[in-house]
Symmetry: C2
Subunit: 343 residues, 2 copies
């Protein structure tokens, strides 16, 4: 068998604003791999099936000497991120041919992994599509589930406001909140997303581009919990509309990722005045406490339809750049997934 | 005995920027009171001895229809705030002549209180000056002690940054942190204040007007706890210099009290990236949990000199406006107290 082309998505240049496909990120087919003969050196060969495209990836497109909570992408090297692959060959006793692995992998068609430090073997007893493992069962679902458990202090009858409520994290949070008997207000950037938020149970859903967030929050009587994926103006409105003792779960601040400008904030003093508690988190840091519970409970909730989810798939690694841009601009319609290959 | 003049400090107009004495606040001597004959109707007559001047008072100088965590002052009526007085006459069985009361009272020489809802009788077994009861033993000391206990999660060897560290709250926090074995960085706005912070044990003390806050925090290796009295740029620097999992105790944000402008914030995303926890509070809401413990522990610490404190006193109600302005501008040298009268 001749060597196979090994398509790769390369980090090509640091973007100043939004990352342009073909400029910040380029697809490259110059490398090949001998699928049957390439030496494994005790590792295993993985064929990529599904890759997750997430908002936080913008933060990795920076100069390598700027520190942050995740490493910068390396210029000239493939991107990496959450993904699912199938094992083609293995010399590692913990992994066998045909196993599926989930974790942090490179944006390439084929890769040889040394060990199980970045991925783990996943079971799929409910026969869910493998893309579910980068969505509701992957980082977005884990983010929603674990941070909600850790920080929400949710009580039946309270009101939560979920920003980017049609996204993979936000939509999961909406459904968790409804399962616990809360009133849910949610926002997103298109009428189609608003429709989806209503379908999954949001009591009040609105398009923040056509409706004033603060007016909605005040009209609905204020909020006890804010799930923040946005920051900026939306955070400022939530501070204004918060009840005393409200909890803010800071999951992301996408509004600032592409501008680099300072955000003008009018209502930070409400943190003092209303005794607010505001918690940021990185989901990896909650794994030890909640990962086992997550895998025990959530796959069944997803399989039974109690937690609904939705994805938008791009087919082929050559579309990674487009998908990243769509996610940064909020133009994707649901959880963004790259379907790289069938099994 | 002829009626006595009853001097009052009146809220005269809502300030736009800094509150000008004689304009926002005026001293008025038009009223009199018959100290021996004025009917008490079951209440008690209090002679004001000491009044506390605090940063939060600026927030009460607003239109009455704007909601906040403390009531607005009423135009044409006396200011109110924390103070200590001595009881001259009483028809209330809970209070007798010569008792001292501490609590929320009007900025007047004499007042008749109906009951003990706003003040309580205080004991002074260590014979501390009565002004101590509006400082280290009053709201500032309670604020420092209770919020530190509730939110700092302080561990020996950690580093705390205390803004306005020469103030009554900040200086108390510095000393609590040193008693627990932390490294303390503190800032204030004059060299005299820097000197005081060093005297009470701050390891690194600097004048934020002549030294760059962010540079100090980075040079010292970052911070685990930030005691914030300031907000704005200082908060933004602390976000930048925070370690992962740092705790921010939001006690006040004086930098925004007099401008009303939005604060440009560059580093709010660090809340997410560093898993920060940020807690605002109002000290009254912590009373139930900590007030008894406070009065059991702190008077002895103050009497023995383990907790040092310092005050700047103005003599006479006619100087309330000056003292308020000095506190808002950071020109006071220590805890601002109005000595209204001797016993």
């Amino acid at each position: 068998m001749p060597p196979a082309t090994n398509g790769r998505v390369i980090f090509n240049s640091i973007p100043e604003g939004f990352p342009e496909p073909g400029k910040s990120v380029v697809y490259n087919t110059s490398e090949t791999i001998d699928l049957e003969g390439a030496p494994l050196n005790g590792g295993f060969l993985v064929k990529t099936l599904e890759l997750s495209i997430d908002p936080y990836m913008r933060g990795r497109m920076r100069a390598a000497d700027i520190e942050s909570y995740v490493d910068a992408f390396s210029l000239g090297k493939p991107l990496s991120g959450y993904g699912v692959g199938v094992v083609l060959r293995s010399e590692n006793p913990g992994v066998k041919n045909g196993d599926h692995v989930y974790g942090f992998i490179e944006h390439v068609q084929y890769q040889i992994l040394k060990d199980l430090s970045a991925v783990s073997v996943v079971q799929n007893p409910h026969k869910l599509p493998w893309s579910t493992f980068v969505g509701a069962l992957g980082m977005p679902g884990q983010t929603a589930y674990m941070a909600w458990k850790e920080f929400s202090q949710a009580k039946k009858g309270e009101t939560v406001f979920v920003s980017t409520g049609a996204g993979p994290v936000g939509s999961f949070v909406i459904q968790l909140a409804k399962l616990q008997g809360l009133k849910v207000i949610s926002s997103a950037g298109s009428d189609e997303k608003v429709q989806f938020m209503k379908e999954i149970g949001s009591d009040v859903a609105f398009n923040y581009k056509t409706t004033n967030t603060l007016e909605v929050l005040k009209k609905e009587g204020g909020i006890d919990i804010f799930w923040d994926n946005v920051g900026g103006e939306t955070l400022d409105a939530a501070l204004d509309a918060a009840h005393n003792y409200a909890r803010f779960i800071e999951c992301g601040m996408i509004s600032g990722y592409n501008s680099g400008d300072a955000q003008p904030m009018k209502n930070l003093f409400q943190i003092v005045a209303k005794s607010l508690s505001i918690n940021g988190f990185i989901v990896m840091r909650l794994f030890q406490k909640y990962l086992e519970e997550f895998y025990r409970e959530v796959p069944a909730l997803v399989a039974s339809g109690k937690i609904k989810h939705k994805e938008q798939r791009w087919v082929g690694l050559e579309n990674v750049g487009e998908a990243i841009l769509a996610v940064q601009k909020g133009q994707n319609k649901a959880k963004a997934v790259i379907h790289v290959a069938d099994e």
